[in-house]
Symmetry: D2
Subunit: 342 residues, 4 copies
């Protein structure tokens, strides 16, 4: 089967590589010729590419399958351009990180033209080539079924994890790592929630490690506290000099918190035991925010996901004004001075 | 009635001033002679003082009433010293910020000696002289009753607020601003919870003002976002250049969030409209922490009080290690670089 | 000056009453004749009313000032109808709880017709008649100035609170309880944040009172704990039978947490000391949600406001599915059974 | 090597089984004869047991190694009893869920007697026999080294997970699933933090799944909202009927949130797709609470761990009083009625 891929960055290129392994072919579009050349040299006849959109469309067999894998901000314009070049029966896949609201709109806008729109939330990051990509898919059933051979090649496959007890026989697509979640937007919706969970789980590890990091303050502190500080009631309870990289390693086997995120954390801490190569300013992409918006809209309590998102904001100094306001109140009622330069 | 006051700092001195207004007398102990001299010059025959504990005790009429108003860390040792000098029937008051656990222990230890122990959580800060102090009292009923004339003078009095609808006749002590809350420790327990609430309410204002502070980012932002940033979907929704000092002023009258804390906030913002005199590092004293401990012990959900406390920790950089751990994970799975110097 | 008021419910009627006290006149529109009759009997010649929109518009002097005070869901349609009946120079005020996004749109849509649109966030609740309404105003400066005589009558006035130290001379409008916050939507934006703060402050009190409520569990608990329960390490620390209505009363005078919300809480607890007349299901209106949306959009950490909102969701059972999922996990890894009927 | 095991419940028995597989022998103590008989029939000569403590001690070779694996509440008394029967050089292991404070005290109390005390936080739950137990160990280095052959048999072994990139040569004990974390209490400290993280990660999944659970409310809701409800601005955004068991399955392969907890969740949802066998009342054991206490003591922001713990409290109705207080305030200022029976 043939796939057109727009955007041959790390994700797009690795998807092309995975389908090529199973004998599918791909046509790529990228403005960087070197990205095209690299895949051509790797994949030979299984790959063709161009820097020009019309030429790209011309190289595709009908019904065309065009996977758009470019930054979310550019996806809308690309879909619009494609809409003018494609024909009824063709399929546009948005595999990026669009907000699912846009999927709903785009699918509706393309329907009169007979062009099908499929949204695929794609997880796997830099490990996708080797591990396979987890695919969360929204759109019409008929087209999702049509794409099955490609999806199967991109996804990790059932052997990537032990089968869930009770599941037998022919593995479902979910067991192979891809799932048709519902109509337009459902793929990005499920991916959005996935990322929301990711934020919360990451924060759970990070907070726990921070407690281990401070477990020695009873020994470190000289016992002198200013009037504004809270002395430790029991310094003898905090005299542990914990080897955090080793702790993350030991938790990888047999513990309840074993996870892929923990594997990565152990790996990062093995490479940089004090995390000195990191600044502590943590970015957030849209999905974490949108998940919170969805929780608010639907009336779902999401205190953990919210705390995780807000901690990222705080890491970038975004609480500063609020903190100053607190100091101003403290000074006003208690005469506490928390001036610059402290 | 006579009161012995140990510690003539701002709080202790102002309590002495308030009782002297009503014709009570006081004996003060302080290591700074100038604190004693100041009160002597203000209050004349109603005040006597010394820098020496035994002399202090000697100046008191029995049953002695000794109010200890010194830093929490020094209170225990002072109570022990007093225990060796006082007689059965005497009363020790801890008016500072001791943890209520200690009250329970101290009251028990003093009981065999016939010395009574009263804990008083005292709120009012720098405004106590003029506004009166809100007193939350723990200890035996008989002694609390005995102290009533002093407590009434220290507290704000019923006219400090409109009476609660339905309350009639002779005002209760609660309406006058002092309350016997229960046995030993109850006063500091209620004061502790009071401070926990204070943390939460302060944070509520601070977060809200921060949202107003950012209400103009749609206009300020030049529209260029890095791959790691989330662009504003609707910059036109955030084009408000809000005058925050004026907003805090307008809320003081007729709004649901009118409060003494808001009065202070409006006052602080009038004096320093951009809060430039504050660093944003916010201290926390023990009560906020102990309130959270009590919530955990008793199984009470306290997400707001917890978030308020943790925000103060974060304001002092205590999340840094956790934030670095998040960046390490992000780099590991997504190739996101969040290096120092960004 | 004349005001047209659409909606003579509690809020609309009380606004009319306040302006009439200062000699202004009003024309009212309401579908319930009895609402009109009541105001007519109270206010005599200062009030005229009708149940019919065209007639209502006809009774107004130009430039017409029409205050719409109806449920947010109906406001849009009413503004549209008015737009067809009013003339250039007329002013529509939305005094309800519209989302500020809609103000931006409506002001823009009305501009070509020469009709001015003013949004006013109105706080004061059931006490507005007596206390005055706190008014947060968005729109064009010229029209806000034109409305000044009405706004002054509706707002509480400077005497409603002590002046902020340092403020002198002619009181600003903010000191009188009304404020022009910025262009279209700014009034509802500031009101939205006000309500977000209100949620947070309310939750702070509620959590603190809950800790007082549980302060006696050391005495109440019989000492038997199931394997799934965490026994109290120190039951002797939780043996306080706190009189919560009295505590809220004592905090009203001299304490740091004194506020109008606390006044109301003390009043409610005096009337119903065990809160037995309440179910514990807490509603939320849009403002708390929108505040959180704004925090997310602008990257402002708002953990306290979020926790307060989510606690309301939880109070209505909206966490149930999540809680079941937790039980399912606990059973899976630990064999813990948390079955229905426990 | 020989191990004495006190408590042959699921955990204790499975530890005995694992060491027996490697040729070690065990002596068991349990009050239930059938627990002893079962292991005797399984393990033959490798196991001996008794219901009587003195006899148990007598069967052990010196230096005796006694692993106590009984409920945390009973461990202290058992250690005291053992202290009277053991000899200098013997080793007591607390493998249960004691608070690490107690380890510090016990180790100190046993030191004068020459008895060594080792605390081992043991994770693995019902899967420990097959997966191996993750062991977090506190105590003196010499004794931990002495126990190495047993610890190695109990732990999962290096093959239980892929090696962390960069780790080479002879696997460290952390890679085999056991780690000497520090002096007395360090093992339970690290296990405590492990459980704190577990709470946070579990809540992250649970909240995310709840959002999926509500993703269809735009379709389900009939469009009628009471005045107290917030209508959905965009019902068309919430028209997804998500198959949650399938989503948890698809995330197991290739996604960032893949974890053992997710494996268990997928398994639980496969067995009970609607979670109807669960009540939604979620217990918490001490570790989650103690983790929060440690965060508070050390000044570490832990909003996610706190939110996760508090959500469990709320699931058991512990927010009820706070919720009623909120309703009381809402009624007072807004006339909102939230009465019982709603």
């Amino acid at each position: 089967m043939q796939l057109g891929m727009i955007g041959l960055g790390r994700m797009g290129a690795n998807i092309v590589r995975r389908i090529a392994r199973d004998g599918h072919t791909a046509v790529g579009l990228d403005r960087h010729v070197e990205n095209i050349e690299m895949l051509r040299s790797e994949l030979g006849d299984n790959f063709d590419g161009t820097t020009e959109l019309t030429e790209f469309v011309g190289k595709l067999e009908t019904p065309r399958v065009v996977w758009v894998m470019i930054p979310a901000g550019a996806t809308g314009a690309m879909v619009d351009q494609l809409a003018g070049l494609l024909e009824p029966g063709d399929i546009i896949i948005d595999g990026g990180n669009s907000r699912y609201h846009e999927d709903i709109t785009r699918a509706k806008d393309l329907r009169p033209k007979g062009i099908h729109y499929i949204d695929i939330g794609t997880s796997g990051g830099v490990f996708g080539l080797e591990r396979g990509f987890c695919l969360m898919i929204g759109g019409e059933s008929e087209q999702v079924k049509y794409l099955d051979p490609l999806l199967k090649s991109i996804a990790p496959g059932v052997e990537a994890a032990e089968r869930t007890p009770g599941r037998q026989g022919e593995p479902s697509t979910s067991e192979q790592g891809y799932l048709h979640c519902g109509p337009a937007g459902a793929g990005h919706f499920v991916k959005m929630v996935h990322n929301g969970i990711e934020y919360g789980a990451m924060a759970a590890y990070a907070e726990g490690l921070n407690i281990l990091h401070k477990a020695n303050i009873g020994a470190e502190h000289n016992g002198e506290f200013s009037a504004e500080e809270t002395p430790l009631d029991h310094p003898e309870h905090y005299m542990y000099d914990i080897d955090i990289p080793e702790v993350t390693e030991v938790w990888r086997r047999g513990s309840v918190v074993a996870s892929w995120l923990l594997d990565l954390t152990a790996s990062a801490l093995y490479a940089d035991p004090t995390l000195e190569t990191f600044s502590g300013r943590v970015s957030d992409s849209g999905e974490g925010r949108w998940t919170l918006d969805a929780a608010v809209d639907t009336g779902v309590p999401a205190p953990v996901l919210a705390a995780a998102l807000f901690q990222r904001f705080s890491s970038r100094g975004e609480a500063l004004y609020a903190d100053k306001a607190l100091s101003a109140m403290r000074k006003a009622f208690g005469g506490h001075n928390e001036l610059p330069g402290r």
